[in-house]
Symmetry: C2
Subunit: 468 residues, 2 copies
């Protein structure tokens, strides 16, 4: 089933669930037992609001907590705010520490305090510690329930311990098992599979991998994503300055982070601030705010094109036909710039290209831009000559010179576009900004102003004394 | 350590490794044993080419295969082509089936046949089967070595079986264990953790989850990514029409697919064909080809702006100052369009918005565009009035009417840009194309032509009999 089919199924099942709600909590729990929590969450999203609370209260607390984790932020917040604080606390306490922190973070200050105060002491403190981390760092992504064993434990003892934890139905992540020394410092890592494969009598120290990839809690989300994906990890440990494990980021949260990063990157490249909610859930005025800032900034920058044209107004009066090609020329520069920027942003994000490579890239993009510009230049010349020869438009006696002006300008503008577009992410990165802020509209705006200047300079040079 | 520090470390270690290469294969293997294969691959990338082969041959075959998996496609291809076919086959045979297929796919037809013929029969057939799938589908991503047990197996027997496989050092993915019925059809799934937690004497049927998310081998890469991430899976089974398991896609390959999808999306949105290699590795002429097609297509489309301006040339002659605002106006339309497109592309990719939502989005983007356009319109009017009042430029006696023309046009152009930009992904999707092909430059080009027509129409209406 794909996502859309799942949605459709959820909508179909919703009436059955409403029917089901008339029955005892036990039978509701039994009937829905085999449905994946993600699917049950989809069904819940399709239910009328008054049934949502009824269903969640009929489910066992751990199951309801699972469903809550998969709900959209908006509905989860709504549900938790509608419940009494003890009710909400009962569910929230069953969530994994990282999901609990994420859920509470979205609530109103007051509701959040009320619910938190109903959660038992150790879980409460842990949640408060997690909430102190920036949600876009390793600390904000990690869960604090994981399995670690002293490195001198025997394989049998470790296996028995793991079994005990698993049988108790506890929430510890078991993507990997960590070995620690007598100070609690991280010394090794092994998988459940490696634990099962180990010879009896061996010590954990003998079988664990000593080189463990780890991050500090302050590590950026992008860093967590890149390490997890480069090393094919299923969990990344987060350690303090003494190498003691604070928590682990599990691969499912890394994937969520990847999806969010991707969305933000595309929105930023489109020339706006990244949204923090789904498109259909964000309000009208919030949407205006996210978009207007960049639109206005670009508009103000673009005003320079008007100034540039004013400088050349006397030439324009003499050779009005030059204005006909302005949109064509500046957009070609913007398009080549947009291509170059998108390439470099991704190459930088993937670590293929670093700040030190700027000169190498510049030497590559300039000839590329000249070649691409030459292709468009030839097309531009052909267009003018063809229209003139076919009698579609009259560009005057000097149409060949006009064509030459347009063609030469295109080479210059596309070369400049490619160069400027490829250098902009480096400049932003050098200035300590996110290179992904180099949006297509920003590049286009930069290139437009220069493109006009190139155009009029070429025209002055080629047409001076003839048309100008 | 972050990625750049790893690179730096790799470059530092490379000379040590060259020193090491003078010693026996045994001591080379022992000295590098604890280095993660991904790091060893980074070191290999920094080595002079002649040492690469020496190092790989000194390592045990399974270890060398691990390193090969992490090498860049280019270097891996180079290494495999330099080796004799039996040498290469020895390493390739040790790779997991999916990585083996990926590695062979990159080779020249002839080398590939030679190596394949040296691989033992069952592995060869399996590789050929995998190579038959499109690499961007579930079949192309899956590995064929996984663990499945009949559903009436007891927990003890299953655990013993898993242990046997793990101890034999075989390559089976153990992210999940699948339960099958007597016809081999997929009936359930459980994790190693659940197997360990199970009560003794239980049957696999009793503890496995019955609702298993699975895909056919033809499922698109994007589908695999979205299911894995929505259901928080670590492995996704691929089944034939009889629900028999053909293979599993593991989460590390899903993450790689996510990164590739992201790169392609950004490049397409930048207005070019997606590259299939890293920026620095693609050749000059291949790069030209990837970029020139869209540049030319956009250029030809953009020629319509010249035609549009030609229609209004007599008006332009009478009111030349109108040309001063052309770049400002059309770029504002393009920018708002680029914003709207980036939003809708991502919302569609995330399943937040489907084809059926087009009318809902249109009714949302039009008022948004009008509001955003009004903001820019006011700024445009202010700019003209201010310059006139401050004596920076003379827009003539009717400068207020000119300002009104520019302001009104901006409202229309930005509203049209937002609407067109948001509808373009729907149109492409309706036509069976990838909505992510709606690039920023494509939207800008569409909006430019209409923007000019709006501008001149507003001018004709407001200035007719006065300036025109």
């Amino acid at each position: 089933m794909n996502t859309q089919e799942h949605r459709a199924l959820a909508a179909l099942l919703a009436p059955d669930i409403q029917e089901l709600l008339k029955r005892s909590p036990e039978s509701i729990a039994a009937e829905t037992e085999e449905i994946h929590a993600a699917d049950l969450a989809d069904i819940v999203e399709a239910l009328p609001r008054e049934s949502v609370l009824a269903l969640l209260q009929a489910l066992p607390a751990d199951r309801a907590a699972d469903v809550l984790e998969y709900l959209s932020d908006d509905l989860r917040t709504e549900v938790l705010e509608e419940m009494s604080a003890p009710q909400a606390a009962r569910l929230v306490a069953e969530m994994t520490p990282d999901d609990r922190a994420d859920a509470l973070e979205e609530l109103e200050e007051e509701t959040y305090e009320d619910i938190l105060s109903e959660i038992p002491q150790p879980a409460r403190e842990e949640t408060e510690r997690l909430l102190a981390y920036d949600p876009e760092t390793a600390g904000g992504l990690m869960t604090t329930e994981f399995v670690s064993v002293p490195e001198d434990t025997t394989v049998e003892a470790a296996l028995a311990g793991v079994r005990r934890i698993a049988r108790a139905g506890r929430r510890e992540a078991m993507h990997a098992i960590y070995a620690t020394d007598e100070h609690g410092a991280l010394k090794g890592v092994l998988s459940l599979r490696e634990l099962l494969a180990a010879a009896e009598g061996a010590k954990i120290r003998d079988i664990a991998w000593e080189e463990v990839v780890s991050v500090p809690p302050t590590a950026d989300r992008a860093e967590v994503v890149s390490l997890t994906s480069n090393y094919d990890l299923v969990a990344l440990p987060v350690v303090d300055e003494n190498q003691r494990i604070l928590g682990v980021v599990t691969v499912d949260d890394v994937m969520d982070a990847m999806v969010e990063e991707h969305t933000e990157d595309v929105q930023k490249f489109g020339g706006m601030e990244a949204l923090d909610e789904p498109y259909l859930q964000i309000g009208f005025s919030a949407m205006i705010r996210k978009r207007v800032v960049w639109l206005v900034a670009l508009f103000v920058g673009q005003m320079l094109t008007t100034s540039a044209m004013q400088q050349f107004q006397s030439q324009l009066t003499q050779a009005l036909m030059l204005t006909l090609f302005i949109p064509l020329i500046i957009s070609s520069g913007g398009n080549s710039g947009s291509q170059a920027t998108s390439l470099i942003i991704r190459a930088m994000a993937l670590g293929e290209v670093t700040l030190a490579d700027w000169w190498r890239i510049a030497r590559r993009e300039l000839p590329l831009g000249l070649a691409l510009g030459a292709v468009l230049g030839v097309l531009g010349v052909l267009r003018i000559v063809l229209w003139q020869q076919l009698g579609l438009w009259d560009y005057g006696d000097h149409y060949l010179l006009v064509a030459l002006t347009v063609g030469t300008t295109l080479i210059g503008v596309v070369a400049f576009g490619s160069l400027a577009g490829s250098m902009l992410p480096f400049l932003l990165s050098r200035a300590g900004l996110d290179p992904a802020s180099a949006s297509a509209p920003l590049v286009a705006t930069l290139v437009d102003v220069t493109g006009l200047t190139i155009y009029f300079s070429v025209a002055l040079f080629l047409l001076s004394g003839i048309l100008l």
